[in-house]
Symmetry: C2
């Protein structure tokens, strides 16, 4: 080799503008065809070991990285992963994105974000168009789009790998990351039972979210198993918003024989419960215990700091990306420990012993 001068790597930073190295440059230097370089890039087993090593060394020295666009054109598939979501909570969105990026790091894939509105008529065709146009490598569907029955058939039709994140297994285990929200509901119930509560209420999330149903189901079942009935009149449905939390709490707390504990379907609604309690001059947790769900930042900012269920959203994202990337390789299959992503109770100051009588 005639010194670094002949090498066109993108790592050189000496002012001079130079084009990035291509597969042809590598092939020339290695004295092989570009097809052989391609085999090394794509880890084909049909390359002699010493050839592979020689080429790998040259690739490393040049800092050659294959052009994802050219590769994508030839593969008829891009190296972009789409995150498709319609979740209204910023914290969830950011945690999930972070997790996906964690799982994609070093893989050469990039993350394209795609918020959408599941209630519009154009929703399905719009998502399909997006995927086909960008020839996405795959998509991660987060709640509530992940729960839409109409999407998987379309994704199969256009041969787009996907991972669905949802509170229960709605699909083949290999394409699911299950967040087990019913377990979280059960843990919330156990916590309140342990504190001696009997008159317990629940503010559920909107029925359009599967998580709302699962959190309620786990909560009610655990209460029932311990001889405490969650009366219908003590269950009201909110929209996962702060304002709906206030309204639902006012309804529950305005009655005679009001509940001594409320499990809200998420932190935002729990914050609304605290606000309503304050307006009604109820002390939390003396007069009323409150438990939320999510453990977003808000949980520790409000007063009193909120007892809640921590969902490891970022870890879930990392696992989802990992599964998606492996789904098209030989290493397919489920590799994560489902227990690692169970919701966990975080006890703060919004829950306490049931008032005596």
């Amino acid at each position: 080799m005639i010194g670094r001068k002949g090498i066109r790597g993108q790592t050189t930073t000496d002012g001079e503008r130079r084009r990035r190295a291509t597969i042809n440059d590598v092939a020339r230097l290695a004295n092989v065809s570009k097809k052989t370089v391609s085999r090394v890039i794509n880890q084909s087993p049909f390359v002699r070991e010493d050839t592979r090593e020689r080429i790998s060394a040259i690739i490393a020295e040049m800092g050659f990285v294959p052009d994802p666009q050219a590769r994508g054109l030839a593969f008829r598939r891009s190296f972009l992963i789409g995150m498709i979501y319609d979740n209204p909570t910023p914290q969830y969105v950011v945690n999930m994105q972070q997790g996906l990026l964690d799982g994609m790091r070093g893989s050469g894939f990039e993350l394209v974000v795609h918020p959408c509105d599941r209630t519009t008529p154009a929703f399905l065709s719009e998502v399909r168009e997006f995927i086909e146009r960008q020839k996405l490598f795959g998509v991660v569907l987060s709640p509530s789009v992940s729960e839409d029955k109409r999407l998987p058939p379309i994704l199969h039709e256009i041969a787009c790998p996907y991972i669905r994140i949802a509170s229960i297994a709605l699909d083949d285990p290999e394409v699911m990351v299950v967040t087990n929200d019913s377990v979280g509901g059960a843990v919330a119930a156990r916590h309140l039972l342990d504190l001696g509560h009997k008159r317990i209420a629940h503010i559920a999330g909107p029925s359009t979210f599967r998580s709302a149903h699962e959190r309620k189901r786990g909560f009610a079942a655990e209460l029932k198993d311990n001889g405490v009935k969650l009366a219908d009149r003590n269950v009201v449905e909110g929209s996962y918003s702060f304002e709906s939390g206030i309204a639902c709490a006012e309804a529950l707390l305005g009655r005679a024989n009001r509940p001594t504990a409320i499990f809200a379907g998420n932190d935002e609604m729990a914050a609304g419960v605290l606000m309503a309690a304050r307006k009604m001059s109820l002390q939390v947790p003396r007069d009323l215990s409150v438990v939320g769900y999510d453990d977003f930042q808000i949980a520790s900012r409000i007063w009193p700091p909120l007892t809640t269920l921590h969902a490891p959203t970022r870890d879930i994202g990392r696992i989802a990306a990992d599964q998606l990337i492996r789904s098209t390789s030989d290493a397919r299959g489920i590799r994560y420990d489902p227990n690692a992503i169970l919701p966990k109770l975080v006890v703060r100051e919004s829950s306490g012993p049931a008032p005596k009588k």
Copy 2:
């Protein structure tokens, strides 16, 4: 034409798997060369009007959309816009993303998100690698990466268009969206002055954020113009975090002759101030007025609801994307009204009249 059967549009949804239409399909149907179709796609003026109309009609009927990957390969530039950020606040990130997507809608561009850590040694080379590898169409830099002096020269070198979002004009106006945080600081000062406060303190953001400096500068200047000095001892520096807000507030409020009003550099720190005040049994706003900055969701969830400055982050994002996309077209130049993106005071319950003596 022999009916819809001969047309390979991606809008057909009749089960049958068919490849997407290409420029060749359009050319064949229109009886022109693909080069002419290409001219129509790229809005070249060198096409006869009736030819253009005929081709446009066929494109519309087929639902033909050019493959961004192939186009990108030929153009040596992708149709991806990168958002590069290191802001710790989820709400900011999501609002900004939403705004960028608003500005990109219908343009054919997609948004690739790229969080990073400005403090690592590999930061610059990593960002450069990302842009070069993906041949990004352009990038939007949000604070605090937008404030890094080292980045623009690199972006120029690799000919990557960019927009910087920052509190002051750090660059050519055409590549900036300026958020005027000093104006927000001044408005906060005026509000507290109007309420009769004299002993006023400030919890600044970290000096690594330009916004921290600008908010403080505007605040101090407005106080000074009205004969109130912001004493050095009444200015402490936090990190924009909740915890730092608590610590700084404890330092300020623990002293004799404590301030009657605190302007915190953001809502998170303001929430910390409220938490500290509560622990010290100070009533807000009776004993202490608190003003924040950002008007994120948290501002209306905590107690008392926070008086704060609303920054129209989503609008700013939309404008940034719009500027970026236009920067490479004939329609370049600044098109937005700078007044439209000024921070605005939102008065809630955390600020009130200064205590009498």
